[in-house]
């Protein structure tokens, strides 16, 4: 029995399958057009990644400080204080480093992409690209998504490093904890999985945030008001995607 016929409107499952197939074909075509997106990859990595390093490091630094102080507050009593190192390390590597960095970049990068692409859409620059025989997905979406996938783990790695260092400095200077004790706690429960788990999550967050920005940007309509509205939607969608993916990876990988 055919899924749909010319005489009958296709049902929801058929439409979903059709859309997924169309998106996959579009993505494959866009990815295959390397000559279009490759020149824009490094500039996007610079804009989305390198320029986001300060805000990510700022967040990670204070996250490390607060975690160290919180763990000292929590561990007063039966739990030995060197567990501050374990808590700071584990928490920043596996959860707070990727998620807080992702949320911060969802605001900065997602809004940036949605506003830029949305403005291009409402000013018909996207149509102009099509007129010039450019695939707008190759030109606009692929370099941004690839830049996000590549640079989010990089920024997250630096954020993890700085967060742990900030926690260590805080523990040594404010918590009467020696460096050896902090390092002992840091190494106590460490597994290599802790690092790659955080980096995989960060890569998926990068893909989700940039895709949400591009999607909302390309769907923008209604002038400047529509740009603002879809920018907000892009940020919200990016944050939601981060939280959903965080739960998904925790279920799958832990």
């Amino acid at each position: 029995m055919p899924i749909f016929t010319t005489a009958v409107e296709p049902g929801l499952p058929a439409r979903v399958v059709t859309r997924v197939g169309r998106s996959a074909v579009t993505a494959a075509r866009a990815l295959a057009d390397v000559r279009t997106w490759l020149p824009h990859l490094v500039p996007q990595m610079r804009r989305l990644g390198v320029d986001s390093v300060p805000i990510a490091l700022f967040i990670a630094t204070f996250t490390g400080i607060v975690l160290a102080l919180l763990s000292k507050y929590i561990f007063t009593g039966a739990v030995p204080l060197y567990f501050v190192g374990a808590l700071v390390g584990k928490t920043i590597m596996m959860e707070l480093g990727p998620v807080l960095t992702g949320l911060a970049l969802a605001g900065r990068v997602g809004a940036n992409i949605a506003a830029e692409v949305g403005t291009m859409r409402v000013t018909e620059q996207v149509d102009a690209l099509e007129t010039l025989a450019y695939n707008p997905n190759s030109y606009l979406v692929v370099p941004r998504v690839l830049a996000g996938v590549l640079m989010f783990p990089v920024i997250t790695a630096l954020a993890i490093l700085l967060g742990v260092v900030a926690g260590w400095i805080t523990a040594v200077n404010l918590l009467d904890l020696s460096t050896l004790e902090f390092v002992k706690g840091l190494k106590l429960f460490y597994k290599f999985k802790d690092i790659w788990f955080g980096l995989i999550k960060a890569a998926s967050f990068g893909a989700a945030v940039t895709l949400a920005g591009c999607l909302m940007g390309l769907r923008t309509s209604g002038g400047a008001e529509g740009v603002g509205r879809n920018t907000t939607r892009a940020v919200v969608l990016g944050c939601e995607a981060i939280l959903v993916l965080d739960a998904f990876w925790a279920l799958v990988l832990l």
């Binding site: 500039p43 990644g49 640079m151 490093l161 460490y190 597994k191």
Partner: protein, 334 residues
Amino acid sequence: MKRGNEFLVGLVLLLAIAAVVGGALWLSEANIGKRETVHVARFRTVGGLTPGAPVTYRGVRVGRVEAIRLADLFVEADLKIYTGVDLPARPAVIAASQSLFGEWAATIVPRDQPQDDPNVRLMLDETARPGGDRWPGATLPDVGQLTAQAGRIATDIAAVAARVQSTFDSSAVTELRQSIKDFGAITNQLVRFTQSQTSRLNQVTGNVERTSEAVLGASQHLDATLARVDSATAGGQLQAILDNAAAGSGDLRQASADLRDILSKVRAEDQSIVRSLIAVDSVLTGIQAGQGTLGLLAKNPALHNEAVETMQEMRRLIADIQANPRKYFKFSVF
């Protein structure tokens, strides 16, 4: 601008890669450039031991747990040991929790080292039984198991305490007081009894002491007697007595031989003896029947009385003769 972008992106990428690789190696205490050898330890169960857990020998980290897998009835753990570590000749592995917070480690111990825990000895024997190049392993109880056991014990103690509380009411207190009083009375009686027994024991001791002195005196007398005997027999008297006894014994043997000769002669003459006895028997029979003089004498009282009287007269006559010889005998030479 384009070159500047590439430089910045490359710098950030290299920094991130350095942070990830360097941090991972540092945290995992990887030994870059050091070679490692893999040894397999066999356990019945590995408890909380996981891949990446440290392997220690005499308290020093010498490697890590590389992998853990099921193998027939046992669990096998691959232990990566740094080369150059001087391991015991017959190693065994004990997996145990390092602290209350769940960190586990595998500790290498010499197999010959005596283990206090009988369960550990049992597990080591069990895992060593299949042989091969696998190291035998044992697992100590987890902190959680010990805590659960302690919890059960605490529950039991609480139950016992509750029962004691329910049993130990006011009447029990009264009975306990009465028991204590009774116990005091028994103690006083026991003290008095002990005192009386002590005085008796003292008397007995005195008696024993005196008896001992008497025995000592007797012993001294015996010593003196033995000394006298010794001195008396020092001149060969004892030898003479023994010689005399030997001679007497010889005489006795001779007499015995003579007696045997007599008996043999008697046996040879038993016919004539029998005849003599028959004759004596006939004589005695006649006497008993009152035949003959002797029979009459034995049977007739008158004759017996006459004979007695005659004898009496004879004694009187002899006495008179002794008293008045001249009445009956007259000697004149001239």
